[in-house]
Symmetry: C2
Subunit: 337 residues, 2 copies
DNA sequence: CTGTTAGCGCATTCAT
DNA sequence: ATGAATGCGCTAACAG
């Protein structure tokens, strides 16, 4: 049971001044006598006064709060993005409300509502793998709340997007496999709903084309990113004759799972099958052999997304810009290829 | 720039009724005509009305929101706890505000303030490794805001705590090492400020005692949990003569780092040195050899913490209970020992 | 520089 | 079953 909350009125009464003056003193308003300000600050400290954000945000038009919706918390990727976004937000004078959708469309819709209820000034979002309806996001537009996509973006909503150069990264990864002499390169990717996956797939195809390697659609498998399913798809590849001598995986957890399975079967990596991932997750150096992967500038991703969002917030709604920022990736070659 | 927000007044005006009725219809108040309620709900839907949480929470005494403060986002541990806490909170009708302190005392203080400003009904907290002053937490008590510690707890504040049985888990781990024939077991642990670490250390000592192995304080090293430092401490152990034949590490990331370093030196695991961790982090199966570790019931941890907190919230402040819930651990033996 | 006044959006008395 | 009135804590005009 909460006790009575200390308000500016308590401070005002005690000091025999008006609550407006207290409010001004507390919020660094210029027009306050220095002596008064000191007295107010001192008493506020003594009373352990804390501003009631609900009151503040009800009064002001802006809440100086931005929301971030991420699809999951299982990999280290999104917590890392959140961390950098939080720093950037703080630097820009914004609070950050975090919500995770558990790769579930309905939860994402609920989270979107939550952001609206909390009157965020803007939203950062990365979609769940299930999301293919975007009505819940159009609502932001209608309400004049800017939105910035990152990582898991979509084309159906016009808004700024921050992604890494998935195409380029995948291209470089596959090119690297080709250069190391691999002839039959398979690709295990995620759901077709995810644009990240499709971009990486394009990179895969184009790298093959560049070296005149015939495209074989059989060598590309889509799965739902549920790691427990990986063995099914891997077995499918292994049953081919001749079997692939390299496997480019859509992300690091997938690649690590593949390596674990291959090792269990006694298949030599990279001699028999080379494996490459995407992300440079922490796990990529824990596995043996260490994973060749495409590094993403996570910190930059979070910071850029916040910067773009803050830019939108300060802009007139009519002038929203919807350009896409593409961050460079970096191929890290390790022992798995 | 935000557009005009739809309020209950807009709905009331459109329907030619009072905002009180709209408010009642929207919040399932019994005393409202069924026809009226339907009309209101329909229009609210059409207008895409969203309740303004700032207004709601300013009006009500309780915000139905709980805060969670975690020390870091780097390991998978805390995001996992948050995920389960969020589920439990939702089931109990609470929203969750997430804050991470970046292992930084000052940030933790700021986060605590933030929770107060957002008028949370209660707080879940796991301390940073730096925290040894608790004034910022006493504030919760003074304000009548219940607090529940989890994982990184402290004795100085009287409040419910949820921890795993660190002592038992460590005891079992070390006992296992002894049973596999290890004679000189070293322990690399975290800062002495962290009670988790001390409990694990006690388990380490008592297991040795049980088997009449003389305690050697030289074999216990404290470090700041910054993985980059691990090599220094490991080298110290390796320089001993005879050198330890087993190393019990305070957590999995530490153990994984140790394994990587030992492998780089060509030291055989577990033959020359066995390694055991604590947590059963995701990484523990990625490393080669796979890591023997003490599993913690993360999901249960988050859910229990929320349950205890909600219990406190619904209790009169005078009746706060401060018992500690200790969850069972489970030793998972893998190839590193 | 300071006090007065008027809301922000909603829930909740108290009337009717 | 509904409406009118009040106030939550604060900021922001508007006066002085």
């Amino acid at each position: 049971m909460k006790k009575h909350q200390v308000t500016i009125i308590d401070i005002a009464r005690q000091l025999g001044i008006s609550k407006s003056t207290v409010s001004r003193a507390l919020s660094c308003h210029p027009n306050v006598h220095e002596q008064t300000r000191i007295k107010v600050l001192k008493l506020a400290e003594e009373f352990e006064y804390q501003r009631n954000m609900f009151s503040v945000n009800l009064t002001r038009k802006a809440t100086h709060t931005i929301g971030i919706i991420v699809p999951e918390f299982n990999r280290s990727f999104f917590p890392q993005v959140i961390k950098s976004a939080q720093e950037a937000a703080k630097d820009a004078g914004y609070n950050l409300i975090i919500a995770q959708s558990d790769e579930n469309y309905q939860t994402e819709v609920t989270n979107a509502k939550l952001m609206l209820q909390y009157q965020v000034d803007g939203v950062l979002i990365s979609l769940t793998k299930e999301t293919n309806n975007f009505d819940h996001l159009k609502q932001f537009e209608r309400r004049g709340v800017p939105i910035v996509f990152f990582n898991r973006v979509c084309d159906q909503i016009i808004a700024p997007k921050v992604i890494v150069d998935d195409y380029e990264g995948a291209f470089a990864a596959v090119e690297h496999l080709i250069e190391t002499g691999k002839k039959k390169i398979a690709h295990l990717t995620g759901p077709e709903t995810l644009k990240v996956c499709n971009n990486r797939k394009r990179g895969y195809f184009d790298a093959l084309k560049k070296y005149d390697i015939p495209i074989d659609e059989e060598l590309v498998l889509h799965y739902d990113l549920n790691l427990a399913q990986v063995r099914i798809y891997l077995n499918h590849f292994l049953a081919m004759d001749p079997r692939p001598d390299a496997l480019f995986c859509v992300n690091d957890p997938t690649a690590v799972e593949v390596i674990k399975l291959l090792k269990a079967k006694g298949i030599k990596i990279p001699e028999e099958i080379a494996v490459v991932g995407f992300s440079n997750d922490l796990v990529s150096t824990f596995i043996e052999p260490q994973l060749t992967t495409v590094e993403q500038p996570i910190d930059q991703l979070g910071r850029t997304a916040v910067a773009l969002l803050v830019d939108q917030i300060n802009r007139d709604i009519a002038n929203w810009k919807a350009h896409t920022v593409v961050l460079k990736t970096n191929l890290i070659i390790r022992a798995s290829s």
